[in-house]
Amino acid sequence: MSATFAPPAELAALEGRAWLAGGLGALASAAGFFVDRPQFFRSYLVAWLFCLGVALGCYAIALLHQMTRGAWGLMIRRPLGAASRTLPFLLLAFVPVLLGLEELYSWARPGAAADPLIAQKTWYLNPGGFLVRGLVYFAIWIGFAWVLNRMSRAQDRKESDRLFRRMQAVAAPALVLYVVTASAGAVDWLMSLDPHWYSSLFGVMFVVGHGVAGFSFVILVALYLSQREPMREHLQPRHFHDYGKLLLAFVMLWTYMQLSQLIIVWSGNLPEEVTFYLNRTAGGWKWLSVALVLGHFALPFALLLSRDLKRDARKLARVAVLLLVMRWFDIYWLAAPAFAHGGGLHFHWLDLATVVGLGGLWFALYVRHLASRPLLPRFEPYLREALDDE
């Protein structure tokens, strides 16, 4: 095969636009930092978790592909790998969360241990542990992402039958560790916002959300690439059909987790657990909950059932945009009621500024990583089969 699969040159312009949008958003967020510091940290946490969800979703999907193989994943392995290489940036973006620790987390404030329930949990919920755990999670993700991206890169240079088996062997433990660490991350970063409340399903819910975010994002990237050389002939309706099916599976899994938690909490009817749903069904929060049921489940579920829609990249991309927006609302829905202290639902302009700022910068970096390598691994043993298929 003589093709080099060089990324399209238009990516440079896309990167420029992303830097611009991200820069403007970051400036607005910085202004917000001085105007309303507590609100800045709250909005920033949601924006950071949203971007992290997209990047980790792509990372996990890449692991899934490298473990199970298949033409669907081979076509998007490079776009997924580019996202996993943005993880060091997201570790850097963790710093503002650490700076706002006392603003965000009531257990981190001085005198929090006066609360007997929090006092029981300080062995886990303490600033030092929070920092060290965060570093460990990121070290694991970045480490595996680096090794796997390096192996994939080697397939641009030489033929090797052993390489993809080694990828498989590395991806399996990486996936197990990802689920464990991302669940723990959900406990640290989101669930501990309300330190009295707990749910053992919370971590998995967060991980499944990453799957929705990752697939939605990579469908948009695949649509962009399918309209340009060199992927124009290679990315075909059958690939989008596969992505649509997997997206549908993750949408259903997200619903399954949410519904399981609701049914368990509702059946248990325990005072310290039901607060979660009481907070989210009071006042304006109720409408956000309804919007999530419709926008994160009912509508995408019904649309994704259609075979024609899944095979039409443009229509599928519209569902992906809807789900990406819903991912932000889902994280907001999990985080923000803890800040409202029983108050109503009020969006702040910083909610938008932080996600445009951080998301824009993240996306610019993503595009740069995407443009830095061929879009398909040339010497991957199964590449010919994947391209010839059908």
Binding site: L259, I263, W266, S267, L305
Partner: protein, 184 residues
């Protein structure tokens, strides 16, 4: 009721050509489709996708039947519980409201799957016209070879363009082993 008769004076169901290779059958299917025939039947010892393409496949209605079954199961399962808990046998359980819809969701989900599965299996039988204890194709003695190594194409008299002489001429020109009349 067929308008045509066989040589023995019986009602004619169609004309059947026997081929000794799948390529010939695919070619024959394409030729018959091009000639404007739509009521075709192709019989092979194993599935051949190209045949399915050549005789003009149509979209299956099965997904809609399954969807209808699923919706009926969801509504039925939910309403059954609602009726039982709110109207037929109202019971105070732990101070919960009678209409505890959250508790109804799991059984309603189960009936959704149950009805959808039944709809899928029964719908498949219905759309395939099963059970069918009698089919005229078996009146051709050679037809038994369809489950061994022979490939058959039948054009039935149900076709609007069916004209015995023209059909026989078309089939004979496609390189068959033989062309047989199928008695109804």
């Amino acid at each position: 009721m067929s308008r045509f008769l066989t040589r023995d004076g019986k009602r004619l169901y169609g004309l059947m050509a026997e081929f000794d290779s799948p390529e010939k059958l695919v070619h024959a299917c394409e030729a018959a489709s091009e000639a404007g025939y739509t009521r075709l039947g192709a019989y092979t010892p194993y599935p051949i996708e190209a045949v399915w393409e050549a005789i003009g496949h149509h979209r299956s209605k099965l997904p809609l039947i399954v969807l209808a079954g699923g919706l009926a199961g969801a509504a039925g399962g939910f309403l059954l519980q609602y009726w039982a808990s709110v109207h037929a046998y109202p019971l105070n359980i732990g101070g919960r409201p009678l209409d505890s819809w959250i508790a109804f969701l799991v059984p309603a989900f189960e009936t959704t799957i149950l009805f959808a599965s039944f709809a899928a299996v029964l719908g498949m039988f219905f759309l395939n016209g099963l059970p069918q204890p009698y089919h005229p194709a078996f009146n051709v003695p050679r037809f038994a070879e369809a489950s061994r190594d022979r490939y058959f194409l039948m054009i039935t008299t149900k076709d609007r363009n069916f004209e015995p002489a023209a059909v026989r001429e078309l089939l004979a020109g496609l390189g068959p082993v033989e062309v047989n009349e199928v008695e109804d």
